[in-house]
């Protein structure tokens, strides 16, 4: 026979307890009944104020409507218990039902505390606790324009914001000298106060209410100091009182100031009767936050479901909180107010409305608590340091000033019992266990199986680091799958294409993917196929990224820019004149690029084949400025002209550029050759760069990080030209084969296990025994080069693809230019739409 388990209260904690019972298999052992006083199933009271805006209880519910039935739990709504008989062991409900119990869990929570001043019972005074309270508030608010909230704590400030959102004059009245008096000090409160006041909420501190004014309906507050606040409605949010009346009347022991007394296993003085959440009084503490309630629910459910095993005990909870309060970050944890001996460090910036305080142990080595207002990014890291009692870095102030790094030195070796998610009480060990069980290998899975990161979300960065670190430790390649259509990295797809001889996207997705592909995997596969077979890319036109598809770079207005190849930046006067003539003929804007070439901008799509034809006829070819490909090799004038030059950098740059022109890679590639150590070609700012020495050439790799600028690192020194080219062949092919999609050489090198030393070992010492293959692959690419523009110029069928309309010869009539500095440029994008950029 199943034992009868009755839960009083279907709030957040009662519901979490039922969830945990179900999770631990307790419904096999217990017949579970849960009683709720409210007419609806459990909902998220923490986000109650959202109900003001979306008026939808649906989004607040903690479980689907059939959850209780599916889990075999009986739910009685609008039916609170009215008495508990601890002798005959039964509960009587408001409907007269008698429910015998073997185990009784009291999770009746708390009610709003309403101070006892004169007139508090007038019409127009409300509490802020349930959805039903909110509905009454919204209904009454229709007839008033000025509303006060009594209480400047978390909930009170939320309520004040809701009042403001309803379009009413909003006031907050607080008895203490500061806002959130249990969490913030004077300085923090003052920063928060000015922020909130700037939003339009008026704040009145140090106000002790004497009486409510008005006849039958509420008409304002009079304070003990004699002042009067003229408002027409009052929302009371001045604290909570545990709902312990059932216990009091049935011999269950309660504290002097309320709350059902429980021990470390959450037992009351009556055998088989327990209390959890805001009704429970543990070691003199009532916790008015949901996280400790959840923790109690978890511990009690565990203990009831696994008899005989070691029970868990409740050691009290941390009162840390992080909130987005009225659009302002506020966080407070540990001994935030510095009530014990301590060393405070604080940072205030009134201009930005930021206040940060660390409460340190007297020797400055441990974190005891802290407050963050206006910028709470550091919260989750600080909380981890605090909860795990980790020794702080030598300059603890670095934790609150400057940018906190994700892997700050203090986080390196957290113990397994380090708490990561305090909302759901998940430790580092819990996360590792879940990852090691193999059931979750990404963040989404980890959230689902541990619930970590599903509360406030502040721990997600740490979850991510732990996940990556652990996957790496297991020897798994931590690369994201290319996208939802392929469960492979780019490197894996490259090997698949090569080994299986796959030459089309269609074959790749049919044999190794799913769905229809997308703008991420199609160009990735296109690039792989191009890198292996070097066929004209127009053969696979529809899977090319937009610039590759049109062999030109799409720019504002949907026009294109055209960049002919000018190897090494060397150009004859005749060719220079030709470019000018062509630009004039098609009315193109001209600009010298950073890579020593000439950009011709403002070409309409249908003009492209004609422009290319003119250029090709004059001996130019595509510069591949559109491709994730080898683009340009910059050079200085070297020993031919320069009085310092020690080698002919221009000749070598031209040789390099012509050898590798247009070779498809995971990202664009650029190079440069400098004729001496003065580095006029800025070769170390390139994916690979060459600098002349007295004895030959120094080869550098992995520079030009794009958004994160990087200098290239020396791979080999004093090389002759042939060896230098051989090493570049190997380097480029190795990168093309192994880098992830859209990863530049600098990031690739950084991620390479063993870094530059390993790369040297591969390229110079042939550690992997693949250099012959790499060189052959490169020779094949070099030998099969064709100019992609010429490919289109020679084929009238391909030219048809450049018409703007399929059914008209017209140009796009919406393209517009204006003149600036003697040339044309596209008109700006509409302003209003730019806002959503």
């Amino acid at each position: 026979m199943k034992r009868k388990l009755v839960i009083l209260g279907n709030g957040m904690v009662g519901h979490r307890f039922a969830e945990k019972i179900a999770e631990y298999g307790g419904t096999e052992k217990f017949e579970v009944t849960i009683l709720g006083e409210e007419p609806r199933r459990a909902y998220d009271r923490v986000h109650l104020s959202e109900y003001f805006t979306n008026r939808s209880a649906d989004s607040l519910y903690l479980s689907p409507s059939d959850w209780y039935r599916t889990n075999g739990i009986r739910l009685l709504l609008s039916e609170p218990a009215i008495s508990v008989d601890t002798v005959s062991r039964k509960v009587t409900t408001s409907a007269g039902t008698e429910l015998p119990f073997d185990e009784l869990v009291i999770a009746t929570g708390s009610s709003a505390f309403v101070p006892n001043f004169e007139g508090v019972d007038k019409q127009g005074v409300f509490v802020y606790r349930t959805i039903e309270d909110l509905e009454k508030i919204m209904s009454y608010a229709k007839q008033v324009s000025k509303v006060a909230v009594l209480g400047g704590g978390l909930l009170g400030l939320e309520a004040a914001k809701a009042v403001l959102d309803m379009g009413k004059e909003s006031h907050v009245v607080e008895f203490a000298s500061r806002l959130m008096p249990r969490q913030l000090d004077e300085a923090a409160s003052s920063v928060l106060k000015s922020k909130i006041e700037s939003l339009g909420v008026r704040i009145h501190l140090n106000k002790e209410t004497k009486q409510a004014l008005g006849d039958s309906s509420f008409q304002g507050l009079e304070f003990v100091d004699g002042s009067v606040l003229d408002v027409e409605m009052l929302i009371v949010s001045a604290g909570i009182r545990p709902r312990d009346e059932l216990a009091k009347n049935s011999g269950i022991e309660v504290g002097q100031r309320g709350g059902i007394i429980v021990d470390d296993e959450l037992r009351t003085n009556v055998y088989g009767v327990y209390a959890i959440g805001e009704v429970a009084l543990h070691k003199g503490m009532i916790y008015g936050l949901v996280a400790p309630g959840y923790e109690m629910a978890e511990i009690l459910a565990y203990n009831l479901c696994s008899p005989g095993q070691k029970t868990k005990s409740y050691a009290g909870s941390d009162l840390s909180t992080k909130l987005k309060l009225i659009g302002v970050d506020v966080a407070s944890f540990g001994d935030a107010l510095g009530q014990t001996e301590h060393l405070p460090i604080a940072y205030t910036n009134p201009r930005t409305g930021v206040y940060k305080k660390l409460v340190l142990s007297q020797d400055g080595k441990k974190l005891k608590g802290g407050i963050l207002v206006g910028d709470a990014d550091a919260y989750s890291n600080l909380l981890t340091l605090y909860l795990n009692n980790v020794e702080l870095p030598a300059e603890p102030e670095s934790l609150i000033v400057g940018t906190p790094s994700e892997e700050g030195s203090a986080f390196g070796s957290l113990p397994d019992d380090a708490k990561i998610c305090s909302c759901n009480n998940v430790s580092k060990g819990d996360l590792l266990g879940a990852i090691r069980s193999g059931s979750c290998s990404d963040l989404k899975g980890l959230k689902e199986c541990t619930k970590s990161g599903t509360g406030c979300g502040g721990c997600i960065p740490q979850m991510n680091s732990i996940l990556k670190e652990e996957l790496r430790a297991q020897g798994k390649v931590v690369t994201e799958h290319v996208c939802e259509h392929f469960k492979y990295s780019r490197q894996e797809l490259f090997q698949i294409a090569k080994v299986k001889g796959i030459r089309t996207f269609e074959e790749m997705i049919r044999t190794h993917g799913m769905g229809n592909g997308c703008e991420v995997c199609k160009p990735a596969v296109a690039s792989i196929i191009a890198s292996i077979y070097n066929e004209p890319i127009q053969k696979h036109r529809e899977i090319q990224d937009t610039n590759d598809k049109y062999l030109a770079n799409i720019q504002r207005g949907g026009t294109y820019s055209v960049v002919p190849r000018i190897p090494g930046g060397e150009i004859t006067p005749d060719k220079l004149i030709v470019i000018g003539q062509i630009a004039k003929k098609y009315d193109l804007y001209c600009k010298i690029t950073g890579g020593q070439r000439i950009d011709l901008l403002g070409a309409r799509m249908e003009q492209l084949p004609d422009i290319w034809k003119d250029l090709v006829e004059e001996g130019f070819e595509s510069g591949h400025a559109y491709g994730k490909a080898m683009r340009t090799v910059k050079s200085c004038v070297g020993s031919t002209w320069c009085r310092y030059g020690v080698q002919d950098s221009t000749a070598f740059a031209i040789r390099i550029e012509e050898r590798y022109r247009g070779i498809r890679a995971p990202h664009k590639l650029k190079s440069a050759v400098s004729g001496c150590i003065r580095e006029c070609a800025e070769a170390r700012g390139k994916d690979f760069g060459i600098i002349a020495t007295e004895k030959g050439w120094n080869l550098y790799v992995g520079g030009n990080g794009g958004v994160n600028p990087k200098h290239a690192i020396l791979l080999a020194a004093d090389l002759d030209e042939e060896t230098c080219v051989k090493y570049i062949d190997r380097f480029m092919m190795f990168y093309i084969r192994t880098a992830d999609k859209l990863v530049r050489t600098s990031a690739w090198l950084e991620q390479l296990e063993g870094g530059i030393e390993y790369l040297k070992d591969v390229i110079i010492n042939d550690r992997l025994g693949i250099n012959k293959a790499l060189e052959e692959e490169m020779d094949n690419l070099v030998g099969t080069y064709v100019c992609e523009w010429k490919d289109v110029v020679d084929d009238p069928e391909k030219q048809k693809k450049y018409k703007h309309f399929i059914n008209s010869e017209d140009s796009d009539p919406t393209v517009r230019f204006i003149e600036e500095r003697g040339q044309k440029r596209p008109v700006d994008w509409p302003k209003k739409e730019l806002v959503s950029n």
Partner: protein, 121 residues
């Protein structure tokens, strides 16, 4: 959308063979620019306005098509924002969306369903 369900006027645009497999083209229909996609790997056709709602540029026909969780979509070539080809909603989560049109194939001809001329803005 009209509240009264009105049968659209079907405008012939071009022949099926003019369309690239799994690609798009732009057609001029009643003076409007319509992007039409032959999503051959799904054996479906879609049409939407050619205008990128974010930049105002007439480029969506040049975008790449694909799917996201099974929903057919086009990625704008300007900044890769994706739009559902069924509903026009922005899949990347932005507020703006695009207009979509019905496509009908008969005897090798591609037709776009438009409201009758005169109701076009």
């Amino acid at each position: 959308m009209n509240t009264t369900a009105k049968e659209p006027v079907w405008i012939p645009v071009s022949t099926v063979s003019e369309f690239p497999d799994d690609g798009g083209v732009c057609a001029k229909v009643y003076g409007e620019q319509i992007a039409i996609f032959h999503f051959s790997s799904r054996n479906e056709w879609f049409a939407c306005e050619n205008k990128c709602p974010h930049t105002g540029d007439m480029v969506l026909a040049r975008g790449m098509i694909g799917d996201s969780q099974g929903e057919p979509k086009v990625a704008c070539p300007m900044h890769k924002k994706s739009f559902s080809l069924r509903t026009g909603a922005c899949i990347s989560g932005d507020e703006y969306s695009i207009k979509t049109y019905p496509v009908h194939i008969e005897d090798g001809t591609v037709y776009i369903g438009m409201e009758s001329p005169g109701t076009q803005g």
